[in-house]
């Protein structure tokens, strides 16, 4: 079971060969994201043109029905998509760097299920907790799950291997999900309150929930950016990092807190959505290389774009109904995972 990941850091091929291109690239990414957001806002049961969208955002008119739709339904939805996408992608990037495991993702490692269980448990026990506490319980669940999976996955000789971590994550997910299902089956009331949330979807997210989760995720994103240099070092290997005088235990601890803030917050907002944290960091490393000072912001932008586009896809593929965005991500993500398992995991 000692499959070793090919060291991610040896991958020197990157599209943006020159450092001078990195910043303009990021700016282009952000512009692309904004275009996607506008596109997403115009789509829906009532088609609204871009001019109206612009007016609704910058010259809001209370009497206009279309403006109301945008402000109360569509804007929260796209904002949720941006936040969730950025959070999941950055948490995935950090986990991949930290564990030197190309298959790391908050969904695969069971962190999403842990957070989901904690939220369901809270609703079950406390009756009707205020929305603001969802995120809090999400963090507890994500944290406990992350620690358990990491502890299980790094047991034994050879430390953490992709197989050990993945299996530990999948099994913990199965275990925890069994309890989640048990609660939901036994308690109709909880099921009813939480149903919209467990599917992994951006539908029906309202502004207050978005605004309550956003600060945690922003702290997580900012924190990740701050420690990105140390993550680059640690992704070269524990020995190298120590040799360079880094206090690796501290860096790991802080990075873990960031992962928990990001993944827990994202789950609290959108329910469990898998594979974003798996795909985006790989694509980003392909574009910018292994310097986490750039990997982190690029991951945030590309993650936001991916979730926004997936959400648009989920809404237009089977109009007038819509798919949960989590389902869309599984369709895109699983083939990617298979590709990684075939080519990036040795043996």
């Amino acid at each position: 079971m000692t499959a070793q990941a090919k060291p991610i850091s040896k991958n020197t091929t990157r599209i943006l060969g020159s450092r001078a291109l990195l910043l303009p690239g990021l700016v282009i990414g952000i512009i692309l994201l904004i275009l996607c957001l506008l596109w997403s806002i115009t789509l829906g049961a009532a088609d609204i043109n871009t001019q109206t969208v612009y007016d609704a955002l910058f010259a809001f008119d209370e009497t206009s029905f279309q403006h109301l739709i945008i402000q109360t339904v569509r804007l929260p939805r796209v904002l949720a998509g941006v936040i969730v996408g950025a959070a999941l992608a950055v948490s995935g990037a950090i986990m991949q760097g930290l564990t030197r495991n190309p298959l790391a993702d908050s969904g695969i490692l069971g962190i999403n299920s842990g957070a989901a269980f904690a939220v369901v448990m809270a609703v079950f026990l406390l009756g009707n907790p205020p929305l603001s506490t969802y995120a809090f319980f999400g963090f507890i669940g994500a944290g406990v799950a992350a620690i358990l999976v990491y502890a299980l996955g790094s047991m034994g000789r050879g430390g953490t291997t992709p197989l050990k971590l993945t299996l530990a994550g999948v099994i913990l997910s199965a275990f925890v999900s069994a309890f989640t299902t048990a609660i939901l089956l036994g308690d109709q009331e909880t099921l009813d309150k939480i149903r919209f949330w467990t599917a992994g979807s951006l539908a029906g997210r309202e502004m207050p929930l978005v605004l309550q989760t956003a600060p945690y995720i922003l702290v997580g994103l900012f924190g990740s950016l701050v420690i990105s240099r140390q993550i680059t070092t640690i992704s070269l290997g524990e020995d190298v990092a120590k040799g360079l005088g880094q206090n690796t235990a501290w860096v790991r601890g802080i990075a873990a807190i960031m992962v928990i803030l990001l993944a827990g917050g994202a789950v609290a907002l959108a329910g469990p959505i898998g594979f974003v944290g798996l795909i985006v960091p790989h694509v980003v490393r392909f574009i910018v290389g292994v310097d986490y000072r750039w990997v982190v912001p690029y991951s945030a932008v590309l993650g936001a774009i991916l979730v926004t586009v997936a959400d648009v896809g989920a809404r237009i593929i089977i109009r007038p109904q819509e798919l949960p965005v989590g389902v869309m991500m599984a369709f895109v993500g699983a083939p990617f995972f298979i590709w990684l398992a075939r080519w990036k995991v040795k043996r």
Binding site: V170, Q321, R347
Partner: protein, 357 residues
Amino acid sequence: MAAQHELKSTWITIRPRWLSFRLDKRVPKIAVLILAFTFITLVFSISYGEYDISPYEVVRTILNINQDHPDYANYKLVVHTFRLPRIVLAFLVGAALATSGTLMQGITRNPLADPYLIGVSGGASLAAVTIIVWVRDVPIGVLPWAAFVGAGLTALAIYTLAWKGGKSTPIRLILIGIALESVLGAVTTVMLLFGNINDVQQAYVWLSGSVYGRNWEHVKALGSWMVVFIPAAFLLARQLNTLGLGDDTAKGLGLRVEWQRGLLMLISVALAAAAVAVAGTIGFVGLVAPHIARRLVGPLHEGLLPVSALFGGALLVLADLIGRWAIAPSELPVGIVTAMIGAPYFLYLFYRNRNQQ
């Protein structure tokens, strides 16, 4: 471990003209013990419920010797029509899954293989959900066939995708199984989104693995598959032992490796599919039962297969009782209970094997 085991135990050899069988002497003893345990659990499981029947009367009703009892008509209805078929079905499902898991672990030489984990159950349940939601009102006998096709295709896809450089490693099999499972889950979700709400609700309970409300028709549907495939598995036990020595050794001993492996895989998939078709996806039985059976009677499949099957059956009967009792008057699907029992066991295995390759 195997050598030590050889020294301690004595063997029963069965050698008619056309096959040779060597059985660990502990096997009959352990088999009887498990059967006794199963019977006791079965009696208690039947006696427990909204309409309580004393265990004594349960036994008499099963044997049909209490016809003079004033409540005989009720007893007969509750025991023979409602509770007995479901519990018998639980036993059969457990036995089928355990056998399937034992075969899979033998074929892949991987102690962590399990039809649920490998993704075969996902394929079977997708096929069955498709039939339930889209075709509707199908006779129960058709479901195992559909599930078999779904499971077979999934197994084939996993095997093909894991194939690289002339072989498929256990690591890739497991990782790709996990990935395919999530795609199949997503497709299943889509199916459920478009179905009629009544069918969907039925499909939901069924998906989490349950023997609730099953009748003798289900027992017949699964039983007819098991009658064919369980003996087939037992007959191939010796070939399975040889496969366990490694491909090269097995070839050297004159075994047609790929052919035998394919045949055993087919049996394993058929058993898992039939079980999924009648009871939904029930995980971890196929993982836990072979392991415990191996610790009881050693690694040779002549003894391992029957003991594992019986143990799987007993485990599921017990899990079903726990599921009915835990959150009464509601009921936990038995698949949830097996996950609650099986996942920690898996993690324990994981811990024990932490230093192995």
